[in-house]
């Protein structure tokens, strides 16, 4: 491991770099393409790592770790960061103490998400600096800089990965960890208690920090000009840089590793050096807007390129100012529920009643695909029970919500409390496969196992549902179809708020023996 070369993914390289930079606290909720960051960090004994209940919780624990004085990191997918927006927006005001890095792994092309929002805008919205590596090698190098910038300017740093960078691998030089002493935590009410009077002053301070960061952005070598032989000059960031280098190695390039605060002077200097100025970026026109604000008139991509990933073969189309070509690739094979998946049994049982089913995010979302087509909504984590309540109000007929065990703990609980409190009726099915299956089988509070595989307090879902105010809570093995259908029949026809927990371990967890749960043990001993 000592200064050797390893074949690392972007997520692994980021984790390695953060560890080398003296990281002490790391929190996340799993989500593709970000999950491997915490999975890798959990293997280092020096890092206090955790799967948190959800992203808001993860963000707050990590932010407070940094305020307390230890270098800390939060990681999630792009939509996960939405859940953490509340603490994120104010963390720019409070600032940090020891370095704090917020990792967002965006998903251009929507490989495994519900949208393809471009989180570069989050940096501008929240007024925090944005760093973007283009490769695993840069992810490792830039994450160290991110901690330094965070401490130098007393501000959280947004670190943006994308699926392509998170999940591609390359040879990366690894080195030793640098131990960084904790910073002293001092009580500082004006800085850390964001009541109006203090927050107003912190906003003034934040604007000062952002001005200093703008100067830094113009000077740092995270942003660099590479002069080539042609008249074309391309401003680019993230993985788009590599596609530009691949297809136009002779072009002059301004590679932005730090897009916000925007390096205005550097961009103007670059624009003077080239005859024809282009902006090439994936998804939204983030850089384009900033360049145009400066009064420059770059050539930019056609609107059709706002959708989906960029690819090296698209770059000539952008240069020629053409639309995005239609892919010649035939449609990919769709994923489906695994053979023997316990979720399938529940959908097959539901089919008998032909109900409206509000869904959530997890493997069971695949229940929307033919031939099942037994899931009729999916918007975000935790939106199944709340959708059940809302749709019922409009259509006046009983709706069924399905949600996974991990998703229920993440943000489903509040929906159930709300339904009980507001006298809603309906049937909530918690498809409990005792893991976070879709993202690669991570444990969660109801498994009684931590990220490090240690036993811990186990959240008992049936007790929790009763405490939330459910009228009935049934627990049943979904493979016992007759019993399941009998219970469903009964609960659907009652005027009550019922929870049915269909409990059977995910076959992938049982197969791999990734961690033991009571049920997977029982299953094995059968």
């Amino acid at each position: 491991m000592n200064n050797s070369i390893e074949f690392l993914s972007g997520n692994e390289a980021l984790a390695q770099g953060a560890w080398e930079a003296g990281l002490k606290v790391a929190c996340a909720y799993p989500g593709t393409p970000s999950s491997e960051i915490l999975e890798t960090l959990s293997t280092y004994k020096e890092v206090d790592s955790q799967w948190s209940v959800n992203e808001k919780v993860a963000f707050e624990v990590a932010l407070a770790g940094a305020i307390g004085g230890a270098r800390s990191l939060y990681a999630s997918k792009h939509v996960g960061l939405n859940v953490a927006m509340d603490p994120l927006m104010t963390s720019a005001y409070t600032g940090i103490n020891a370095g704090f890095v917020i990792v967002t792994a965006d998903d251009p092309e929507i490989h495994s998400s519900q949208n393809e929002q471009d989180n570069r805008y989050v940096a501008k919205f929240a007024k925090i600096p944005l760093l973007e590596p283009s490769s695993p090698e840069e992810a490792k190098r830039f994450i160290k800089e991110a901690f330094d910038i965070s401490e130098k300017f007393d501000i959280p740093v947004l670190f943006r990965m994308t699926t392509r960078i998170s999940h591609s691998k390359q040879d990366v030089a690894v080195s030793e960890r640098e131990e960084i002493a904790n910073k002293k935590f001092e009580i500082n009410i004006p800085k850390y208690v964001m009541v109006p009077k203090n927050a107003y002053k912190r906003h003034i301070d934040l604007e000062k920090r952002i001005r200093l960061l703008k100067d830094f952005s113009n000077e740092t070598d995270l942003n660099k000009i590479e002069i080539g032989e042609s008249n074309i000059g391309i401003i680019t960031d993230s993985v788009s840089y590599l596609y530009v280098k691949e297809t136009f190695p002779e072009a002059s390039v301004l590679k932005l590793g730090m897009c916000y605060p925007f390096p205005d002077k550097l961009v103007q200097e670059f624009a003077k050096k080239v005859k024809e100025l282009f902006v090439i970026e994936e998804l939204e026109p983030f850089i384009e807007e900033e360049v145009k604000i400066l009064g420059l008139k770059p050539k930019v991509k056609h609107d059709t390129f706002k959708i989906g990933e960029l690819k090296p073969e698209y770059i000539p189309y952008i240069i020629r100012q053409e639309e995005k070509p239609v892919s010649k690739l035939a449609p990919a094979r769709k994923p489906s529920l695994c053979k023997g998946c316990p979720h399938e049994q529940v959908f097959l049982a539901l089919k008998k009643y032909d109900p409206v089913v509000t869904g959530d995010i997890g493997c069971y979302t695949l229940g929307a695909l033919p031939p099942l087509e037994m899931l009729h909504s999916c918007v975000c984590m935790g939106a199944s029970i709340t959708f059940m309540e809302g749709i019922q109000k409009a259509i006046g007929q009983k709706v069924i919500a399905v949600i996974g065990d991990s998703t229920f703990v993440h943000t489903g609980v509040a929906g159930l409390i709300n339904a009980a409190y507001n006298k809603a009726k309906g049937v909530v099915i918690i498809m409990d496969n005792s893991t976070t299956a879709m993202t690669g089988s991570q444990p969660h509070p109801a498994t009684g196992v931590t990220i490090k595989g240690e036993e811990t307090k186990k959240l008992v879902l049936e007790d929790l549902c009763k405490a939330c105010g459910a009228d009935n809570v049934d627990v049943i093995n979904p493979h016992k179809r007759e019993e399941l259908e009998k219970i469903m029949e009964k609960r659907i026809n009652e005027d009550k708020l019922s929870v049915i927990i269909t409990r059977f371990p995910c076959i992938l967890v049982a197969k791999k023996g990734m961690y033991k749960t009571e049920d997977s043990e029982k299953e094995k001993n059968k």
Partner: protein, 157 residues
Amino acid sequence: MNKNKIYNILFCGIGGQGVLKASEICGIAAIKDGFNAKKSEIHGMSQRGGSVESHLRFGKEIYSPIIPEGDVDYLVPFYKDEHDRMAFLLKKEGVDLLNWLEKAENEIKDKYLINTYMLGALSRYLPISEESWLYAIENVFNKFIDKNKEIFLIARS
């Protein structure tokens, strides 16, 4: 051999066939021999039976982690339908290993060893030392290492 040549290999199949593992082994073997290498993949839901493709590029200096369209030198299929989807990406003078897949399916009883067999076949075309291939196999597989080495060498020679 052209020292500046970049080798572009496309592995394709479906979830559970070891597509990503094969690509990983090739990448580790290439960097062991001092090349730069980049591998790209899409996973997430692939475990659940969807299409899986992995791009592996190695050479002196690699920029893009994905192979530009039409630049595939070696197409390594693990599943016939996926091969047919991807075949148009192969260069005119590229090498299609479909015949090796047919051979593997006839000769290898254990379907979990087909990826290793295909790697052995691929290794015939690449400037990577046998030592590095075997090193990579040892590092990526956590069980049946000897069996995998054996199958690799059968296909290689």
